[in-house]
Symmetry: C2
Subunit: 469 residues, 2 copies
């Protein structure tokens, strides 16, 4: 890739397009504030953009992209910067394009159960807006209070509800995208079914900003499930918690949440949140199980079936959360594990995913690898999807071991995932930090196709370069 440097002429042209107030350079704001545009939630990585642009709409983005294309200047779209694989980091510098001004919920179409929305809308804001109309947008990553829908689309984000309702990709009907050449297209149609040509919508979802910049999206919605039951189930053995997950599904129950948390994960998060929680000494792990629907009696029936499954295992006292406050607190603990780990220690998070029933084997393998290489890991995640977040704690590792030496055990963890029928990222994406491992999951024939597709969309290779492969 032969990128060209950003010239003052180009900066002037960008000012013409978006207005001077929306062109941010290192000279114009505080150093620390500027540095933030070169970071996300991935470890402690930083890459400085040459300029940060805040366009207002697709037309401005098209003009910006066209200039970058013509002048071979890298351009990286950035949402809220909550990514965990370094996907929004401008590793080749150039332009960072913020989508924060594209933040309108354009239309909630109650007749068709669809919503048209811009990429800079916060996930939670969309959820709240549609819930007021009795509608539900299920994908809910842990960062839902701050992450943007554009980022969710770029990584095909999941969240706890994915086990019943699917991930971001399962709700997109159609997207407006600015291609790396500057052309603006819609990828599909606003329909539940579409057999009209190749599925560009699904090609774009999860492509981590390397194939285009999403400027508008049509999501399908479903009726809001009015009732829910939440239970916290303590296990004396981690593997049994993992085993109970697939047993529950085999019993014909599809929970709307099925979260696994190691003892440490709960303890760290509760401490981080100043919540007083006392776990009996013999408890090693928990499952947080949510059932939802329109009818509470029905949910209690299902809960009984879940109890019947759990009876087979060595579980402690099950906490059934009755009140909204109790439920909120339990979910808050779950959602803040990532923050708590980040607060406690430098760490690397691996987004491992395997077929659901292989989770016990994966968990055992991760711990065994940790023991051999001398690291502690805090594990938690979406057990119903077989998606285990493995947080490797830095502990006493020196820079060399942390930055280089750990590659070996991480490789072993990923090789185990693939051996079990899984892969190296379930919902965080490959981005920058997992790029070195992609060969474990994907052979050269697959990567060659992906590179070929990238070239079709982005002949000058300007869009979010240095990611995925």
């Amino acid at each position: 890739m032969d990128f060209q440097p950003l010239t003052p002429e180009l900066v002037a042209a960008f000012e013409q397009i978006v207005g001077e107030a929306y062109v941010i350079t290192a000279q114009r704001i505080e150093a620390e504030a500027y540095a933030d545009y070169g970071r996300d939630h991935t470890e402690d990585l930083h890459f400085a953009p040459d300029v940060v642009l805040r366009p207002a709409n697709a037309e401005q983005i098209s003009k910006i992209v066209r200039l970058c294309h013509e002048h071979y200047v890298p351009i990286t779209a950035r949402g809220a910067g909550t990514g965990l694989s370094g996907g929004a980091l401008p590793v080749h510098h150039g332009v960072v394009l913020l989508t924060d001004r594209l933040n309108r919920i354009i239309e909630i179409d109650e007749r068709n159960l669809q919503v048209t929305v811009e990429p800079g809308v916060v996930n939670q804001a969309l959820q709240d807006a549609v819930r007021e109309r009795g509608l539900f947008y299920p994908p809910d990553p842990a960062s839902k209070g701050s992450c943007f829908l554009g980022g969710n689309l770029s990584q095909s984000s999941g969240g706890p509800k994915a086990v019943k309702y699917g991930v971001t990709k399962d709700y997109v009907l159609n997207m407006q995208v600015v291609l790396p050449t500057g052309d603006i297209i819609w990828t599909g149609a606003n329909t539940l079914k579409n057999a009209t040509g190749y599925n560009l919508t699904q090609l774009m979802v999860g492509s981590e900003g390397t194939l285009g910049i999403i400027t508008c999206v049509v999501f399908r919605l479903i009726p809001y499930p009015q009732q829910s039951i939440l239970m916290l189930v303590p296990f004396r053995r981690e593997e049994q918690a993992a085993e109970a997950v697939s047993e529950t599904f085999r019993a014909g129950i599809v929970p709307s949440g099925m979260e696994f948390m190691e003892r440490e994960a709960i303890e760290w998060s509760a401490r981080y949140l100043n919540i007083d929680i006392k776990l009996p000494a013999d408890i090693r792990a928990h499952l947080l199980i949510e059932l939802d629907g329109q009818d509470l009696d029905q949910l209690y029936k299902e809960a009984e079936q879940v109890y019947a499954v759990l009876e087979k295992y060595d579980v402690g006292d099950i906490l059934l959360a009755d009140t909204a406050a109790q439920k909120d607190e339990l979910w808050k603990i779950r959602r803040n594990i990532g923050n708590a780990v980040r607060y406690n220690s430098v760490y690397k998070e691996e987004d491992t995913v395997v077929p659901r029933a292989e989770l016990p084997t994966l968990l055992k393998g991760v711990k065994e690898i940790g023991q051999r290489y001398g690291f502690k890991s805090v594990c938690y995640g979406h057990a119903g999807d077989g998606n285990l977040h493995v947080n490797i704690i830095r502990g006493d590792f020196d820079d060399d071991m942390w930055n280089v030496g750990l590659r070996k055990p991480i490789t072993e963890i990923f090789e185990l995932c693939v051996k079990l029928g899984g892969t190296i990222s379930g919902e965080h994406g490959i981005g920058l930090v997992q790029k070195q491992y992609i060969g474990i999951a994907l052979p050269e024939a697959n990567l060659a196709l992906m590179r070929g597709i990238k070239k079709v969309f982005d002949p000058h290779g300007i869009m979010n370069p240095g990611k995925i492969f």
Copy 2:
């Protein structure tokens, strides 16, 4: 495209690969039997293959494809030949590759709720096999008794259950594919979530055999819904039937089937099946509504909610099917409309799809266009998905009007779909017969991307040439 003719040397090489018994030529079987390999269920089209091959596995397919690639010989995969857009027709002749010998259900993984299956398995055979284990594979096109899963994947087929459970694409986790160069890849991983590189799985699904030949697939399964209720609702006005569809969803109910049938559709199908059905004179259309789940009491509650919605409309006596026999008969009528229309008359079927609430407008538009151009149409389809099958009856049209003159009204119908936020195919694919209309749904920028992707996968353009674009 400069294709090369099939040489005797190539035929000999194919015999080496698959064995002489599995190489079928026009000289070796009855003319009529051979001609069948050049037809599918699309109108009365026929294109003769130069040779028909019946390989046993992916390795043989890889060798065949590699030869075709090297020698620039067209190759078209063919499942059961039930397609409705001419997708399996060898319009450039060359090799037709049958997948009928790849017909094993390799593994039903009850622990992970997954099944590994070959493309030549009949849809219904898979459904039956997993149902024995209490599991459910929902996609069920009308031709489910004969169509192959490979064909379902190539068109991302739907069916009545799609409204609640989604279409074929929503159940594929991973596919083994022989690429047009002969390379064999797996497109993804056997996991519910996957954020590892571009989504080749979803790119392949619905690509109508133009990007590779599917040789194995891993589907996810769900618990089988043990209970269901089926009701046939007669309407005195077609538009009200269509309106009631989106009202039902707005009331928070997600039926597992929501089929629309014009009066003629039911009458023709019942007559075709020799079923005695008497419709009151004032009934113009029906909705067939199915509710399913694990709990019958719960379903009766939901049925009451549906009744409450229907009260707003001018409906006749609702038939609630209680027994399995009654339900089967109603579904049989619905499933055989296509066959009945085919039996009654030469026809063209358009697979229109719009956002669900736009269905009344589409239906009205189709009838109005028919009146202007002087044709009768029989309309039915998956109203819950906004997917209306429009069957244009030949009637007295001469060849010229039928083959050329009808393009204008069909164009108008498709333009209406797009104007309403829809597109020109919901589940049948573009194939050969809708190719001339694709520009209505997709602008040149989209088509250029698709052609570029095609070229990446298939540099010699040998695989199912002449389809989609």
